[in-house]
Symmetry: C2
């Protein structure tokens, strides 16, 4: 089969590799129907040259084989794979904090035996704890929406859920990438009345309006803070931060209302930052984290299947796996928001 390898230095390479096989009795094999490129894949892409390794952590597909101990999925089932691998049995999995699984695995890492999903097929470890079966007829039109449940939609929803967004809330979302836009959609679903999207790429913020943003603020820094305060009075009670860079964190601190919440889902690209009286004096809460995607799929899936929400719109481009290099180039150049890859 073919699988994509990250080389760094703005290069990826589709390689012919052996088909995956079952190794453990808890494994499943999945034929990949669709995968995609994540903003985080770009970190390696524009980094220095690296030892080539398989890449990709968001996918949906059909089960082609299962080990003797797999009971929750069977050959022929259509499945969604969260971006983390979890056992389903430990105390954290039982609490549905799958990202703190005691046997946590990451696609494309040593602890998943290098399985990654910008490929035609994949071996899935701990299949019962990892895969989520879609009990419905799946046609091509559903693929983009289902694929967002492997990461970006569930991650955006995690931001809103951890901020406890509820009916009537005013919410600010920082970042107009796929996760930020789907945080807008999620806040809307949870009842937010006013949703201020901070972003400056017009095509993206337009999609944000489509998802439920009532206001768009394109200014950044002090100007952006002033604009949000002008719109809200004393700031936004709930701020969803979907970028992960320090300026976004500082932006969040600047626009949050006293007593409010900053919920982060952008992976922090910093170790230290302001965490003293800036939070303490106004009683601001900091929450969020890496999304336990699997927790939210059961809740979000019906809306996707019934067409009540259309998170798949974040895929503004679809390419065959053969053109994976073009997918990276388009996302790097920001001519695409997010590219879906067909198997």
């Amino acid at each position: 089969m073919r699988a994509n390898y990250m080389l760094g230095n703005q290069k990826v390479e589709l390689r012919e590799v052996p088909d995956p096989v079952l190794v453990e009795p808890t494994d499943a094999l999945v034929e990949i129907a669709a995968s995609c490129v994540c903003g985080s894949d770009l970190h390696s892409y524009h980094g220095p040259e690296v030892k080539p390794r398989p890449i990709g952590h968001e996918f949906i597909g059909r089960v082609t084989a299962v080990g003797s101990e797999v009971s929750s999925v069977a050959v022929g089932d259509f499945v969604i794979a969260p971006f983390t691998i979890s056992c389903g049995k430990c105390e954290f999995c039982r609490e549905r904090l799958y990202t703190s699984c005691l046997r946590l695995g990451w696609w494309g890492s040593a602890n998943s035996h290098d399985a990654a999903c910008q490929a035609e097929a994949i071996r899935v470890p701990m299949a019962d704890g990892t895969l989520f079966k879609v009990d419905a007829q799946v046609d091509d039109a559903l693929l983009p929406g289902l694929l967002t449940l492997s990461d970006v939609y569930a991650t955006g929803f995690h931001a809103a859920a951890k901020a406890q967004v509820e009916d009537g809330d005013t919410v600010a979302v920082i970042g107009d990438g796929a996760v930020g836009l789907l945080a807008v959609l999620s806040a809307k679903q949870l009842g937010a009345e006013r949703i201020i999207l901070m972003g400056r790429h017009e095509a993206r913020t337009e999609l944000g309006r489509d998802f439920g943003a009532t206001d768009v603020v394109s200014e950044r820094g002090e100007e952006g803070i002033a604009k949000v305060r002008e719109l809200t009075g004393h700031g936004a009670p709930k701020v969803l931060e979907a970028v992960g860079l320090m300026p976004a964190f500082e932006q969040a601190l600047g626009i949050v209302r006293p007593g409010g919440v900053i919920s982060r889902v952008g992976v922090p690209q910093y170790q230290t930052g302001p965490v003293g009286r800036q939070f303490f004096s106004p009683n601001v809460t900091l929450t969020g984290g890496v999304a336990p995607v699997r927790k939210y799929i059961a809740r979000l899936l019906p809306g996707v299947l019934e067409g009540r929400v259309n998170p798949g719109k974040v895929f503004d481009s679809v390419l065959p796996l053969a053109q994976v290099a073009d997918a990276y180039a388009a996302m790097e150049a920001r001519t695409s928001l997010k590219v879906m890859l067909r198997g």
Copy 2:
């Protein structure tokens, strides 16, 4: 009347000053029944020499005069004064986040006209928004308990409330000062089953056990972390941090369980710190802040009046105001946990 002045450089001085008078129609005058020395007063005390200023921010007493616009308290009423001055009317006061009052004042600061309470009497600005009337007969035995409601008990309760401590919880409390000990009491009141107190002053941790601590960990740093993990498995789901120094913050991060909460009420003596993946990867929430004391008084007062709880035990020493210098010296030397001053 006499009022205490902070001079810095380990000196305070009781001075004869004019009696307070009503200035604004929203003022009240209070004859102070009891006040006390706060750990935060010691910061100025062991700092360099400063321009003398009145000091003290925790008091209870009896109203002796009210301005023409004061309606919630009258001459003769016994009152509790929170450690902040609030208007009672702005949107934050209406939400009971009194510490974010748009007209917020601090005792002993320019914005309270230098009124401070290590004194015989005090002028209270915005009396309706600030003072809390005690509708009960107050005898001397009640004074210590009532006085804790002006700060330390309500602050400890804020830590537990913001962490959403509930029935059956495992809670760790960092710090065996008055606030930490009363955070233990508060966690117990909210139903915590296991309360691990981290502190090393035996007389204090014994009082902590009396307040409900089930375990005491005297080790600090890595050793302390290992001990808490040994007791809890993967850490404490709720951590109440009542110190305010960076080592305590790092301790909190070291002992919190994935998915858990760190609730701070120790005023941070740092501006920056670890706030990246240390919080993000395990989905740890950071909350807490300066306590809106007034919010909690109505809830906590009945337990004090009925003797169901005895937070006043944190006062291990009572001195007349005339001996205020001895009070500071005893707290500085840690021979007293907290000293109550009688008017």
